[in-house]
């Protein structure tokens, strides 16, 4: 079967607000950088474009209408996947494996600063009959989930705070990151409680930004670049949309998505075979829960690993060296591509001050956020076989 590799990435960087540019200008900037990086002409070389967006984040119905011009995709093949950018990557991977496509571009962006009532928009994703009438900021779901996870696994709030400290520190070395900081566990614990037991600093803040990624088939990838980053496996999965019946103490959809990705990537022992991971950390406890679901450690062990420094950038298993969503910022459907970008830069050896030496295989994972139980995983490697 045909292999696929990432041959180009383009990013605008992330900031809490970018009032000087529209989403169209953000997309143009990221796309131009990605095309330049890959050495492709969108009017000639790209067989399909994939945009990842949700109408309500954008304030439009049928947002698909507004994407072709700034990507160079007018009268070319383009479509929208209503999900995170990592789903876009999985889709592009499938297109290339069919044999009918050689180069596919994936775009995702966030203009979260245009959303004046974020909590109300998220509330529209709650079940309209059973959950939405309960009111309140929907992040209470994360509070409940964190409580259950801490209870079932005997993880502590201090361990979760450790994740925040680590990720914000990592972000200080990432020029794309908006929320790098040197803070302590006590700072996190002393911050305001918003959705018990979630504190203000346990929650990743929203940012604006855009990423475009170019995927190519093996023969084309080798022509375009000396440093292709191969897609070894992708997986995505959804647990039930019903809050009432899902597992609250573990991320079942991540376990299933990982199983799918590991199968194609032929990974049996993720801890040994994967050198670094960029995983979902919209909320601090999620990084720990996801580490366990991805099979990097047993249930209830992720907190200890984090306290021991194993997931630090210079640790045995660096997790979120980019700064993660806690340090870079939460860019809605772009989150998955931001994680993917970091893996690509690390595997290419282009991560600058935060470069981890001798890394060959990396993993990116993303969750679609409250109130979903859906997410995607991708395993990448510098090795073709």
């Amino acid at each position: 079967m045909r292999e696929a590799a990432i041959v180009g990435v383009g990013c605008t960087g992330f900031r809490s607000t970018m009032p000087e540019v529209s989403y169209k200008e953000l997309m143009f900037e990221a796309a131009t950088r990605a095309y330049e990086d890959a050495g492709v002409d969108p009017r000639r070389d790209i067989d399909s474009f994939i945009c990842c967006s949700e109408d309500y984040w954008e304030g439009f119905s049928i947002f698909d209408e507004f994407v072709p011009d700034q990507l160079g995709a007018v009268l070319r093949h383009l479509f929208t996947v209503s999900a995170d950018g990592l789903y876009g990557l999985a889709t592009a991977y499938m297109l290339i494996r069919t044999g009918a496509f050689d180069v596919v571009a994936i775009e995702a962006h966030s203009k979260a600063s245009d959303i004046l009532t974020y909590a109300d928009i998220v509330a529209f994703a709650m079940d309209p009959i059973f959950n939405r009438p309960l009111g309140g900021h929907p992040f209470y779901v994360a509070g409940l989930e964190m409580n259950r996870y801490l209870h079932e696994t005997e993880t502590t709030k201090e361990m979760c705070a450790h994740v925040v400290v680590k990720n914000k520190k990592n972000a200080l070395n990432n020029p794309y990151a908006a929320y790098g900081a040197n803070i302590t566990v006590d700072d996190v614990l002393a911050s305001e409680t918003l959705f018990y037991p979630l504190k203000r600093l346990d929650i990743s803040p929203l940012v604006d930004g855009c990423i475009v990624t170019i995927l190519a088939s093996d023969t084309v990838a080798r022509k375009l670049t000396d440093t292709p980053v191969w897609i070894k496996g992708v997986g995505w999965n959804s647990d039930t949309p019903w809050l009432e019946t899902r597992d609250w103490g573990r991320a079942t959809h991540v376990e299933l998505a990982a199983r799918m990705a590991y199968k194609t990537a032929r990974i049996r022992n993720p801890r040994k075979e994967i050198c670094l991971a960029e995983i979902d950390d919209i909320f601090s406890y999620k990084e720990l829960e996801n580490l366990e679901a991805l099979g990097f450690c047993g249930r209830g062990e992720a907190g200890k690993l984090t306290e021991e420094g194993i997931t630090d950038r210079d640790g045995d298993l660096p997790v979120n060296p980019s700064g993660g969503l806690l340090g870079v910022g939460y860019s809605l459907e772009t989150s998955g591509l931001q994680k993917l970008l970091e893996i690509v830069l690390q595997l290419r050896g282009e991560a600058g001050e935060r470069q981890i030496p001798n890394v060959g295989t990396g993993l990116a994972q993303v969750w679609r956020g409250i109130p979903t139980a859906s997410g995607a995983v991708a395993v990448l490697s510098t090795n073709y076989r």
Binding site: D55, Y56, L75, H77, A83
Partner: protein, 388 residues
């Protein structure tokens, strides 16, 4: 642009198209999904992945509507995602099912399209006010019928087409729908009825337009190996195509849908079709308005530009004509629950090529069919070519 693996359709399901206040979107999706699985002789356990299509979240007022519908579509604890290309979504969802299987990652894929427009009060047109550019167009208070009236006018002007010729499409499709068990607005009407119906936005009149609706449709797709085990007569998806034109529709000449041509060429190339009018036996072009059927026949290269009205007048596009167009009754007759209506067209081609279309069956054993949908701001074409 050739795929290595063949993908087959092995089952299809379709709900009634109606204003249906008592069923939720999930229940509609469940009904169609269940029918498709039953017709394929499979259960949800045999399904490897699910792809869903549904048009704007604003109809239901549910953000991330795909997530909300997932268990109705049989996607619990399965790889699941939603594609969205406006009105083109229905046919495009089948395209997305194709690549799930053609990639070799999955052996079976459930394709589900759902639409529930009746929950949008007072009318789904209000949801459509938010599809326009917020600075340039939205302040005008536009709705869809306005812009399609502009397009219809331009098409009529360039080719010198009369309203009487266009009305024939509505007469034909509503007549065809008399034989469709799911149809919402089947009717025996005349050209005079269309021309005497209420003017909405000139030249569009009430009977030129398809009705808003609720409904769902579903397909089961399988790889070649699995298809041969579960059915004796699979229908193969041999070509898929899609294309988008510029957002700035005011800068385009609306008389011809270039994006449909581009999507059709992509699908025809994949399917190895060189002479579409000769090689295609039955077609389901998108007909939310009667002029759109003509417009899309030309976009699909089934005839020359401006020739579609003549073919219609000569009866070539009748169910027993040389090139049957919309034998199902199309959106004008069966109804227009947007994403579900697009997939209904793919279901119809599936049934026609299997010889299972009952009273709607096109004569002479059709072997090759094409379905097409149209979406976004008069800018999107999605096309699928199927063979028995």
């Amino acid at each position: 642009m050739f795929a290595k693996k063949r993908v087959a359709v092995v089952g299809a399901g379709l709900t009634l198209f109606r204003r249906n206040l008592k069923q939720t979107g999930r229940e509609l999706a469940y009904e169609a999904t269940r029918m498709a699985l039953d017709s394929a002789g499979l259960t949800v356990k045999d399904i490897d992945c699910v792809t869903l299509g549904t048009a704007p979240d604003a109809f239901d007022g549910i953000h991330m509507k795909g997530e909300n519908l997932l268990d109705g579509a049989g996607a619990w604890r399965k790889p699941y995602s939603r594609v969205f290309v406006g009105g083109g979504t229905g046919v495009f969802t089948a395209n997305s099912g194709w690549w799930h299987v053609a990639s070799g990652l999955f052996d079976t894929c459930l394709v589900v399209a759902e639409e529930k427009m009746s929950s949008c009060f007072p009318h789904p047109q209000y949801a459509f006010t938010t599809i326009f550019d917020p600075i340039m167009s939205r302040p005008l208070g536009m709705n869809l019928v306005w812009i399609f009236a502009i397009e219809m006018h331009r098409y009529m002007h360039v080719h010198g087409i009369k309203k009487e010729q266009i009305a024939l499409v509505s007469v034909k499709n509503k007549g065809n729908a008399m034989d469709h068990p799911c149809a919402q607005l089947p009717a025996k009407i005349t050209v005079e009825d269309v021309l005497n119906s209420e003017v909405m936005v000139w030249p569009v009149q009430r009977l030129d337009i398809s009705p808003t609706s609720d409904g769902a449709a579903a397909l089961v797709l399988a790889s070649e190996d699995v298809a041969k085990k579960v059915t004796d007569d699979p229908v193969w998806i041999d070509g898929v195509g899609w294309c988008i034109d510029s957002t700035y529709w005011t800068n385009r000449d609306l008389y011809f849908p270039k994006y449909v041509e581009c999507a059709a060429r992509m699908a025809y190339k994949m399917a190895g079709i060189k002479n579409p009018p000769k090689e295609i036996d039955v077609a389901e072009p998108y007909d939310p308005f009667d002029y759109k059927e003509l417009h899309h026949m030309e976009g699909l290269l089934l005839c020359k530009k401006g020739e579609a009205p003549k073919l219609t007048e000569e009866g070539v596009t009748q169910r027993d004509g040389d090139l049957p167009i919309n034998p199902s009754g199309g959106l004008l007759g069966v109804g227009n629950p947007i994403a579900a209506a697009g997939l209904m067209k793919v279901c119809e081609i599936f049934w026609q090529l299997r010889g299972e279309a009952g009273k709607r069956q096109v004569p002479n054993d059709p072997r090759t069919g094409v379905a097409q949908a149209w979406g976004d701001l008069m800018q999107y074409g999605s096309v699928i070519v199927m063979r028995s």
